[in-house]
């Protein structure tokens, strides 16, 4: 049967059919849909873990107990999981353990574009790189078999373009591989990495790598497509598609297993072509290894190491090297520049977003300054990753830092200890607080911070597409679960001053925030309001009474896309976008009582 599947859907299907028993992940673009698809199967355990490190540990435990396990995450998630991942390489596995890292070349929705292929080399584990959904599907069974045969976790590297592209998949089977129930055999030398045992394991890891290198030579997913002798291309992942598009007549060594490399195969291929080039996205991962073999190969001197590739970039590189014929380019007619002047449509907080109110209050306190060096004390806001990061954009501009998950709390403390005289507010979302904020808060309490911590509890993991988390009351597979009470959690971390406030009550937000900033001691405010995307209805939309409206523009300061300023300065509300009674933020800001709820919302 042929089916159109995204790379992520293909991974889920391939893993399921390969007899997967336990899957664990933390949501992160572009990896999220892998676990979402797995969660739909009832004959396996699929969970949203609190973070990637926990997910990795769940995968390790399942593997130790003899069943097949899959752990998936975005590239930066593997940084969080690295401690466990490195340890898993040392202990090895029992049931197959596959780790999927979805990298994000081009940074479509990430803070960096690190190339996680280096993690395979670093951890001394095999690395698979599919180049379309078919391979993502096919590689899953292979990955589990390799994992079990070589006693190692396997790293499978996806990229945004593969994860989020749909391509045709020939599905070989309908059934699911039958695997036995789990069982744990005690084996201290393997599972207890005390130095005495670890010293025994390290040589085994090295032997494993050597065996894998031999295995790579005969593995069918490392293959040569013979073409012209003039140009030889070594490539992997989605870059293979761009190479095929650009130079279909060239000889191509297409690698599915990219660590360890099949050295003999590479040498033979190199010897058979006149010019040799590596086409790979981001870092010169293959190129460096091939150069280290003493083979003369080109790569990053021609193909950029920054950003996502495509066939045009590869074509330009090959043309500039004179390897392929130059095609006619459209005349430089200035059209690109004209297109660039069109108004942008940057990502924004949705109308009715529970984050808008608190950021509007933070913005309007009159304390936000460009610099506080040698100036009056202001208000610094440290943050991290979630929809709330979008408050960094105008008109709210109420976010000063965003580095990685949970970073804002530690950063706020560091700023305090640096001696700035500003008030420091750290902001974190509900899911992110559970991911990596709790330790930061305990640290802040312990080290005598006077920060204000805002936990924005919107009852979901919003930015990645509304996944469940331990605060929502449901598991990834839809079962009811205990729900974390964020105020109680903050108290048990040692914060004595903890308050809850309604995200849509501007007056309460302002008063709670003001007293928190005046208190000069650590306090936590839990701002509660459901994400608009998971909240049905909203009732009748609001409208602006043009008689009463003075066009002062205060309502525009919310940055709500439902409120519009016309050519004559007149303000209107789009009744399709407005969330009406569920929000009312603009109505509370209007000092002229010009905003009313009268229009029946059209569905």
């Amino acid at each position: 049967m042929k089916k159109l599947l995204s790379g992520n859907e293909a991974i889920a299907l391939g893993a399921y059919q390969a007899g997967l028993k336990v899957a664990a992940a933390y949501p992160g673009t572009p990896s999220t849909e892998i676990l979402e698809n797995l969660a739909a199967y009832k004959d396996l355990h699929a969970e949203w873990s609190t973070n990637e490190k926990v997910a990795m540990e769940v995968g390790m435990g399942a593997s130790y107990a003899g069943v097949r396990a899959l752990v998936s995450m975005k590239h930066v998630g593997l940084n969080v999981a690295a401690d466990a991942f490195m340890a898993a390489s040392m202990t090895g596995v029992v049931g197959g353990l596959v780790v999927v890292s979805a990298d994000d070349p081009g940074m479509h929705s990430s803070q960096n574009e690190q190339d996680n292929r280096y993690f395979a080399k670093f951890a001394k584990v095999p690395l698979l790189e599919p180049s379309d959904s078919q391979e993502a599907y096919d590689f899953m069974a292979l990955a589990f078999e390799m994992s079990e045969h070589f006693d190692t976790p396997v790293l499978l590297r996806m990229t945004t373009r593969l994860s989020h592209s749909k391509t045709v998949v020939q599905i070989h089977r309908e059934d699911r591989q039958i695997t036995g129930p789990g069982g744990f055999n005690r084996n201290p030398g393997k599972f207890i990495m005390l130095p005495v045992n670890a010293r025994q394991r390290h040589p085994l890891v090295e032997t494993r790598l050597a065996k894998l290198a031999v295995f790579a030579e005969s593995l069918s997913i490392n293959r040569i497509a013979e073409g012209t002798k003039q140009l030889g291309i070594i490539t992997s992942g989605v870059s293979f598609q761009y190479a095929m598009e650009t130079a279909p007549g060239a000889s191509i060594l297409k690698l599915g297993l990219t660590y360890p490399l099949p050295e003999k195969m590479v040498r033979e291929f190199a010897a058979g072509v006149e010019k040799l080039v590596v086409v790979e996205e981001l870092e010169p991962f293959l190129e460096e290894q091939i150069l280290a073999m003493g083979i003369n190969v080109k790569g990053k001197s021609l193909i950029p190491r920054v950003g996502e590739l495509n066939q045009d970039i590869v074509r330009d590189a090959f043309e500039s090297a004179g390897w392929i014929e130059t095609i006619e380019k459209p005349v430089q007619d200035g059209l690109i520049d004209e297109v660039k002047t069109l108004p942008k449509r940057p990502p924004l907080l949705c109308p009715g977003c529970p984050h808008t109110g608190i950021f509007s209050v933070l913005h309007s306190l009159g304390l936000r300054r460009k610099t506080t060096i040698g100036a009056e004390a202001g208000l610094v806001i440290t943050g991290d990753i979630g929809c709330y990061t979008l408050a960094a954009y105008p008109p709210l501009e109420a976010m000063d830092t965003c580095a990685c998950m949970g970073a804002g709390i530690g950063q706020a403390l560091g700023m305090e200890k640096a001696g700035i005289n500003d008030r420091v507010v750290a902001i974190i979302g509900d899911s992110t607080f559970l991911h990596s904020g709790i330790t930061g808060l305990i640290n802040a309490v312990y080290n005598g911070s006077a920060m204000t911590l805002l936990i924005l509890d919107n009852r979901t993991t919003a930015m990645t597409g509304h996944q469940q988390n331990p605060g929502t009351g449901f598991t990834a597979q839809g079962a009811p679960a205990p729900s974390v009470n964020f105020a109680n959690l903050a108290k048990s971390c040692g914060a004595s001053d903890v308050q809850e406030v309604d995200a849509f009550d501007i007056k309460a937000l302002r008063s709670v925030l003001k007293s928190a900033l005046d208190s000069r001691s650590l306090n936590v405010i839990v701002v509660r309001g459901s994400c608009v995307a998971i909240t049905p209805g909203g009732g009748e939309a609001l409208t602006i009474d043009t008689e009463r409206c003075t066009q002062c523009g205060t309502c525009l300061s919310l940055g709500c896309t439902a409120i519009r300023k016309g050519a004559e300065g007149e303000l209107t509300i789009d009744n399709q976008l407005c969330r009406g009674g569920a929000c009312r933020l603009c109505q509370q800001l209007c000092s002229h009582q010009a905003i009313e709820q009268i229009i029946k919302k059209v569905v």
Partner: protein, 218 residues
Amino acid sequence: MVKMNVLIAGVGGQGVVLASDILADVALEAGLDVKKTDTLGMAQRGGSVVTQVRIGEQVASPLIGDNDVDLLLAFEKLESGRWADRLKKGATVVLNDYSVPPLSVSQGAEAYPGDSEISHLLKHRGADLITIHGSLHAAEMGNPKILNILMLGALSMLTPFNPELWIEAISKRLPPKIIEINLKAFQRGRKDLLSILAEMSAESGLEIDGHGDDCGCH
């Protein structure tokens, strides 16, 4: 030999991704290779959404190359302009006459481009521009959300695929409750495109056969 690069652009919430899924299903059912890739940005609602669908005997890259778009199906005017420089010479653009102002415009900081500006950008390299009143007609039919299927109806007139394949693909992708109205929207889109083509040919004095063989995608 069919070789067709279709770019569908719009704003989050307009159903761009579903439309591209259906187009891809149709191509697959017609026995062709197909690859599609979505770019959603980070916004949950209201951001730019674009999806690229490549159809042919064999497709390598999921991305459409520079200046290689045969058909641009745009659900929103500003979003259509954003892709003008990616059009192949002589491409066809099917544009929904509808605008969603971005925040910079609704805040009064920037102006929404005028129709003549959008049309200038799209026709810059000789594209045929077909403007249809998709949102208006969808609203008239009682449900603005059927816009994406109405637009697919218009697109279907410019593709070599049998209408039965489209109807089957739409019916498979949608919940039973809304299939009927969407199939009506599909037919409305086909009719709309045909009547616009007839108007255009009357103006230019050209004969048309109602199947849009001048779309450059065959």
